[in-house]
């Protein structure tokens, strides 16, 4: 099992945000974390990356990574597309992608990956020498995903990739994510408020409510249960 989380508590100062959260993600799987605003979804991802004070157990590839520094966790193959995208606004599109590959040594592989990425995101190729801050929301999201993929990660964490994007763009993005998962086998943990879209892509879902996991089931099961959808997911 690639990622195992057990009994995860998370704290912001004195406030506890997560209570004994537990879940799994294995190689190549796409799983989603759903829940309302403020449920703690972003906190889960930040905990995985060592950005929040935590208690409990986080294991990646068998190694216990609780308490590790972010950059060390990243080097194990965990790529995080954060809330707000975290783009290097003053740098060009190309520089942003190169930064994604900062921990890699293989020049040729990096160049090949960049070209392949441009194949998946043609709009980025048009803007490769443009300052990233001038890109539209959708393009910045694609850039953020692209940058994360440059790491050749084993696990891709996505925090609300649909946020602030027009529906057409979101569909395009999720189609690309599906394709990438099929082509490269990278596992994904997607935090989403747009539950419908996430349940289409993912095979398994967790539902978070005020810091606790209240549901842990295959996506199809949750998607089919109308009462759950209505009360928790809003559709």
């Amino acid at each position: 099992m690639m990622l195992e989380v057990d009994g995860l508590d998370a704290f912001y100062g004195q406030n506890q945000a997560l209570y004994r959260v537990a879940f799994r993600v294995d190689e190549g799987q796409v799983r989603t974390l759903l829940g309302a605003n403020g449920a703690g979804k972003t906190t889960v991802l930040r905990s995985l990356c060592g950005m929040v004070r935590t208690g409990g157990d986080i294991r990646f590839g068998g190694k216990r990574i609780s308490g590790w520094a972010t950059e060390d966790i990243v080097r194990l193959g965990v790529a995080h597309v954060p809330e707000g995208r975290g783009t290097f606004l003053r740098m060009t599109v190309e520089e942003n992608l190169q930064l994604g590959a900062m921990t890699r040594r293989d020049r040729a592989g990096i160049t090949a990956d960049i070209e392949r990425l441009y194949g998946n995101f043609p709009r980025l190729k048009e803007r490769r020498t443009q300052q990233a801050g001038t890109l539209s929301g959708g393009e910045q999201q694609m850039l953020a995903v692209g940058r994360a993929l440059m790491l050749r990660p084993r696990l891709l964490l996505l925090d609300e990739p649909s946020f602030g994007l027009a529906p057409l763009i979101v569909e395009e993005l999720f189609a690309i994510l599906r394709r990438i998962n099929a082509e490269t086998g990278v596992a994904m943990l997607i935090v989403e408020q747009n539950a419908a879209l996430a349940l289409e892509l993912a095979e398994h879902a967790y539902l978070l409510e005020t810091g606790r996991i209240v549901m842990d089931a295959p996506a199809a099961v949750i998607g089919a249960d109308e009462s759950i959808r209505r009360s928790y997911l809003g559709y």
């Binding site: 990356c49 950005m51 520094a69 972010t70 950059e71 990243v74 080097r75 790529a79 995080h80 954060p82 975290g86 783009t87 290097f88 606004l89 003053r90 740098m91 520089e95 190169q98 930064l99 994604g100 900062m102 921990t103 300052q131 801050g133 001038t134 929301g137 940058r147 790491l151």
Partner: protein, 292 residues
């Protein structure tokens, strides 16, 4: 007309000093996103180290290298010991830390080496070039070294992975960590490089302004002004800004009545502020476009 040309050339010569300093300032600004107000004092201290090495009998080039290396190490240590623990403190608290560093370096230098003016040698000699006393060998050397440094820095930041990593670490530390960059080391490296460049600047400047603990005060101010004028994002802008400040200062002193030595700095600053009013991010500064 001849006077104008002379003053412009003289301005370029003094401007080389400011350009050197401005380069050092922008360099560290790119690395740590703060202005280092103690930059001048660090440069002064480095120059004293070189002077001491020569006083102990070492040749110039060896003293130069020792000073640069020790300055690099010193810069890294200052970052790790002094600024890393308070990097979460408010900006103004960090500013006070810079003031403290300034005070410590200035006072210690005065205590160790006293305040009498000392001579500092130049590797370029002082022969006037182009015959007519417009510019001498050392001044040409200063301009040359500044431009070479500039070139090296440009290549480093734009063309190497380490340079890119350093820029990223300064611009957005959290995102930098998310791509695996060890931000703490990058910041320390930036400080080390800035200290080393400062040492070079100090050793170029000392032959002209003479070595004493307060030698860098005016230079640092003009260096800041030059860096800000050039737009803090750009080393090339900083160097151009430094030269511009030198020229402005000289022309103001020559052509505006009532301006004695003291008022020159004021006039220069006022002119610079006037430029900033027209172009608020400096002449070469890029306006950062950010979506709300």
């Amino acid at each position: 007309m001849e006077l104008l040309l002379q003053q412009v050339m003289a301005g370029l010569a003094t401007g080389a000093i400011y350009a050197c300093m401005a380069l050092s300032v922008v360099m560290i600004y790119q690395a740590i996103d703060h202005l280092n107000f103690a930059q001048g004092e660090m440069a002064m201290f480095s120059t004293f180290i070189a002077w001491q090495a020569m006083a102990w009998g070492l040749p110039y080039w060896l003293a130069f290298i020792i000073s640069v290396v020790l300055s690099f190490i010193g810069g890294v240590l200052i970052e790790r010991v002094l600024f890393r623990p308070i990097h979460n403190a408010p900006v103004l608290s960090n500013l006070v830390a810079f003031i403290a560093l300034f005070s410590i370096l200035n006072s210690s230098a005065g205590y160790i080496w006293d305040f009498t003016i000392k001579e500092f040698p130049t590797p370029f000699g002082t022969k006037p070039l182009f015959g007519r006393g417009l510019i001498d060998a050392h001044e040409a050397g200063m301009i040359g070294v500044t431009l070479v440094l500039l070139g090296l820095l440009y290549v480093f930041f734009r063309g190497t992975r380490l340079g890119l990593a350093m820029r990223a670490a300064a611009a957005n530390p959290e995102s930098a960590r998310l791509v695996g960059i060890r931000v703490g080391w990058m910041t320390a490296l930036g400080w080390g490089m800035a200290a080393a460049i400062g040492a070079v600047a100090g050793m170029l400047i000392a032959p002209v302004v003479f070595l004493e603990p307060n030698m860098m005060l005016g230079v640092l101010l003009y260096g800041f002004a030059g860096a800000v004028l050039g737009g803090l994002a750009s080393p090339g802008g900083a160097v151009a800004g430094g030269f511009a400040v030198g020229i402005i200062e000289n022309l103001a002193g020559t052509f505006i009545p009532y301006v004695g030595r003291e008022l020159k700095l004021t006039i220069a600053l006022i002119l610079i502020v006037a430029v900033l009013m027209i172009r608020p991010s400096g002449i070469f500064g890029r306006r950062v476009v950010s979506r709300v």
